[in-house]
Symmetry: D2
Subunit: 431 residues, 4 copies
């Protein structure tokens, strides 16, 4: 039998707290799960620094990737024998679902920003490069790795397949909303996925949802909205991100300045230089990063060691609302106050805007964005969701930017008491 | 106001997926949570290698410690104004609950066995030594650290206080059963804790449960029993433990033999020598351990590098049932087979017995064990649980030993085909 | 001790699937639960005919009333020692919460509409009339029954007390959303009540919610919205309501015409006459109503017996969308078609509009409506919810009217085939 | 297409709180659900008087019947293509599952005992008699009604089919445990049904469970055990049953004595005479019964009216432990005390034994019992569960008889104070 069609002698299951069981019957999928590149996702947390806000959020991308696979498996088992669905795309969909996050690195958001990397490039590199994952995929067919890469890259010709994992209501989002809600323990993030799966229909170039399922879809969008503000944009998580970014900035800066690290930062060198190879990239996971952050707590550079200590021991910056248009003079005053106190404001006085973050809850119109959600009406016409749902319309495309100023309260306390701005901030911080 | 009585200006809550919210009002508790020693528990998984079997089991001891604190908080808020309860013990109970697992190291079970350490000694050392935790506790009262240490050590004079965190139905167990069930996703581990808390009563030297709550307690004991076999003793988890132990053995052996490591194993040296100081002990968490395991994959020693690769990339040993009394000749045959193939049987042919593991589901009689559960009858007499419950009686004190033989299937495949035992095993493994 | 302050020797609990436990300590509350008028609520379903759509929705108003009591109990136990809160109002709040739905009759909506009754009048009558409930309340204080009646009637002088059970986010709504979701099994209706309770604050004339809880409140409003369309306005439930109303209409009409019932409709006579006394009203619960509907299946009047058979055996009318402004000529055509076929169109051709139904999900501005939700900002100012929340703003005050035409498909099938409208409808019905 | 094979144009689903969705594709099943005999089950509660103890337990046998159908549907969709499974039995299994409880009457237990009826006889009569259910089944095949009846009667030749709905681990029990737990809200009754379904295997004459699923089965047995003592045998529920039986006894006795009822008890006459016809039997559901109980509250016979008032208004008897072997003299003393007070002891002094109740949690050996559970070992041999599980062994076959004496506390209070037994009882009752 062709490797593509090989089935395990007995179905394997993974016990999953979100989907109850994850079912694997294909030998190819089983082999992919066993590769080092996929197992590495166990050492990358799904929500980065969020565990410092919600202590339950310690789950890894390995978890999530299995979940996305399982949702796609359920969707396409419903598609069987429906028009527009080509059963030959089955394995491709499953593999792409499983592997779509393969290129994520440790604390992706900060690492990508500081070192100017893109995890999607690395996903492509892993799929197409000299890896075990590529080896397994190639056994299916020489062109199979490229097909998987194209699906994930949204360039595959069959857009229906692409939309399963990259649309406004794809398996990726349906898994992470539920999973992140489960592990953080928040009450949001629940919606009737079983109903949505039942009313999904394959069309030529996308998955659509029968109009009778509109309220379930609205509920899903609302879950996104709530998770966005309650979890993904939580200011405490962002405080940890701020510190993390500053650690990476400082380490790179020191390296650029020729600083002699007590311990050679071997795993970081290629990142500092800006061109990690694939194997260097894969070699840096969150356990390695946390090893270095702990080592750097012993460095002579006070900024680096202080920031690492803050991150490792969760001594985060405090935050206050900040309006860049109206409060620049205050910011200037603080900047000088910090300078006078010998505290480097570039590292300790940080404005962070939620709009920098890569989440959106629903944007039907923006170019280059994910496919909007189309509802299939009884008369077989398609209509974009926000044109039928007032609730979705009310939030679609709106970006609520939220600026906050992050500062170390402990350091601020030690500074000159003459500053009005300082006084005002201290009052806010002490409630 | 005395530090002991200081309250936060506003109650702080942690969102917890198991207990919904964890409530903190005491400044002392808040300060303890903020210490580096307590934050370090975020870098120690609650269930060690279990995440390699149940992918959801990635939660840390930090999680669990907050949970135990919360349960004790709820129990003693019910005790208020009841006879036998001294409200002055309140803070002591809360602190002991929070800190009872402070001395756990990375993958505790294997590390303790190989390096002959005891995490309880380190808990004592952290409480009484030169640490931030000790600093906070000492601010309450010079004798407070010792009192907390005594409660955790079960030597505190008020046995009622001790029993809250060390008995057969203490807050420790009630939390981990529910938490481990939640994160693994198994259906076991649920019981009606709210009812048990409602029927708990303080007696002079222990917490007892009103007889009307017996069925809820039975259900709790059954949860233990199920979790024991379904989760804690899962043979795949034990396979990972076997490999982990062998890694540590091998590394120590190499060190003892004067092997030159490519990368000096700085964090391990004191463990190899057998006498880590407190700060050396605290310096080795699971991120550090995983860093070394990944480094050692590059070592020249084939056994160490292979074992580390197996652990990191989850290429575990397979297992078969093994009866040491009847199958020694088979074992001998295999031993020689391995030797002949140049594969070191001490590292690759491992018998593991569940009875080595430190769990029990209910043992009322054994000396030195935790306090058995006593039911308070309507006539105010106490009766030990297993004397009233047939179900509990049926499992109490029984140790079901379960021996398994762990072997690398891939290596076995390459060996001589003449061995009958090998053939038999291969047949079992291929089902 | 005054009866008002009497406590049960031991707290009583009811196991509740929604709130886990319902706790009763006050003798007065215990005695109220034991009255025949309160026990009668076991024989009135919470959701009327909804069980014919969602088979799980068989729960009674007894259930819900206990739930509202429990929520108020929790809210005011949080209020203790806060400004604006007068602990002396405690028992009044609990009693009003427990008894607020006491006047509901069987299938309230239809009965009230057909017989022109108002359950709120009967609630007042039960509280103030010659009943066991009144007897218990009077033992507290001669004026206590009137106070409870005033709270439920929203005329009590302390508006804070009123708002606990009659506002846009009162205990009544918080209970029924969760309870109805639980029993129907739909995924909506969940929100973080524990968080909302934590951020509720008593003000002079209302309960408000701290702004930090806004997202939890948004989620609650969304739950209302979803339950509204998915459950409360479900067209199948409305179909059953349509039939029920027509049964009552027909029976009354027959009575007015002097029709001789085979079985004297004793329990209905006073309703037909339009002036049931309190004891007549209380004597007609859903078991009695169902007895009569089953008896009427044997009546000679074909319309009454057919409608009763339809209701009892769930042979409901089918429905199609209907726009009264554009489809009047179609309706006229059908009307004549029915007449020609000898089928009384007043009973079998029914237009029903959702806007007749007594639910709203959020209307801040309408006069005479329940108090809108106010958020308490950090600067201690109050702001109405829809001014801070775009999502709530998008749905607030909007009444989505939805007209449907209900018809018996089986009867339509037998009619002349020349009608275009009939053909069109049959096509829709057969999908 | 043959009626047997007819499929609905679109799958219908019922939202179910326990199984999420119940799926129907067969026209036959859809038609059966629509029959009056099946709809009647909406008017029979699943747990009889249990709602007077657990207020959530208001769910009907209609609910449960759909649930059993759904579980069988899932089991046999797993059986497809397995050895020993004959797909031609599919519709028979589904129909038998759906209809297995069709013959239940109102408050089955008490009615059956007092009127010496057996609901199983009526199930047979409904399937084979002049009913709509029979009409639908006969359309499949003339012999189909008899086949369904045989499966439910356990006399069908294919014992595998029988075991799906009548064994120690059949769909009937798996549904009611979960459903009754859900609606009462107790924490018991949960087990991993999904896992059990996955490891069920069809054998020649029964369904067996792979040994690897033993712990899930143990957990199921424990759920039975807990539900048994916590819910099904709850003494308050039994108190309501006692009163209900006494009402029926009294009404029959009065009828036998020629008592003139104010309202002719039409629906009861054939029951009093001992030979209800099928249509008379079907005509008496719980709404009818409750109608009469409320009418009888007005009867002149004091015993009948008092007992009805107690039942309707939940003024139940209190209970104390009672040992018939040791306490007969006490009982005699009470008997005389009641007689002297003019209170009929046959109605007001009732010993009730749990062993009279028709539940068992696991009895492998008794003749005429349901099939025990067999585990399928890796070597393909079968072993009875209690031989492999110590826990199950500990409870199997044991009947814990529990006798209680039920008495009206209010009446006892009014009696002579000289009786020692009375004093003792009053002390117990007042705790």
């Amino acid at each position: 039998m062709a490797y593509r069609d090989e089935q395990l002698s007995e179905e394997k299951v993974f016990k999953d707290p979100v989907h109850r069981y994850i079912h694997v019957r294909d030998q190819v999928i089983w082999d992919l799960i066993g590769t080092p590149e996929f197992q590495r996702l166990r050492r990358i947390r799904q929500l980065g620094t969020c565990y410092l806000t919600f202590h339950g959020a310690e789950h890894s991308r390995f978890n999530h990737s299995l979940g996305v696979y399982e949702i796609v498996r359920r969707i396409i088992s419903n598609f069987k024998d429906r028009p527009n669905w080509d059963e030959k795309e089955r394995l491709l969909c499953l593999a792409a679902a499983l592997l779509h996050d393969l290129g994520h690195g440790p604390f992706s958001h900060s690492f990508e920003k500081v070192f100017k990397l893109d995890h999607e490039d690395f996903t492509q590199a892993i799929l197409l490069g000299d890896t075990k994952v590529n080896e397994v995929l190639s056994k299916v067919d020489k062109s199979f790795p490229k097909q998987v890469a194209d699906v994930i890259n949204k360039t595959y010709q069959n857009k229906l397949v692409v939309s399963l994992i990259s649309s406004q209501i794809d398996a990726d989002r349906m898994d992470y909303l539920q999973r992140d809600a489960y592990f953080t323990g928040v009450s949001y993030g629940h919606f009737d996925m079983e109903r949505i799966l039942r009313v999904m229909r394959p069309m030529e170039d996308q998955v659509v949802v029968k109009e009778s399922g509109m309220h379930a879809v609205e509920d899903y969008i609302m879950s996104r909205y709530q998770m966005y503000w309650q979890v993904y944009f939580h200011p405490v998580t962002r405080s940890a991100e701020v510190i993390l970014s500053k650690i990476l900035h400082r380490a790179k800066e020191l390296y650029d300045q020729g600083y002699r690290f007590k311990l050679e930062p071997t795993h970081f060198l290629s990142f500092f230089k800006g061109e990690p190879t694939l194997s260097e990239y894969l070699g840096l996971d969150e356990s390695i990063a946390l090893y270095y952050f702990q080592m750097w707590m012993q460095e002579d550079d006070e900024i680096l060691s202080d920031l690492c200590d803050r991150f490792v021991n969760r001594r985060l910056f405090k935050y206050i609302e900040f309006n860049p248009n109206q409060q620049m003079s205050e910011w200037m005053e603080l900047y000088k106050l910090f300078q006078k106190a010998g505290i480097h404001p570039d590292y300790y006085l940080v404005v962070d805007s939620s709009s920098d973050l890569p989440y959106d809850f629903y944007r039907p119109g923006e170019e280059g964005e994910r496919l909007p959600i189309h509802l299939l009406q009884p008369n077989q016409e398609l209509k974009e969701l926000s044109r039928l749902s007032e609730i979705v319309e009310s939030i679609s495309g709106k970006k609520r930017t939220d600026h906050k100023l992050y500062i170390p309260q402990d350091m601020l306390e030690g500074m000159s008491n003459r500053s009005k701005t300082k006084k005002r901030i201290m009052e806010i911080l002490y409630g």
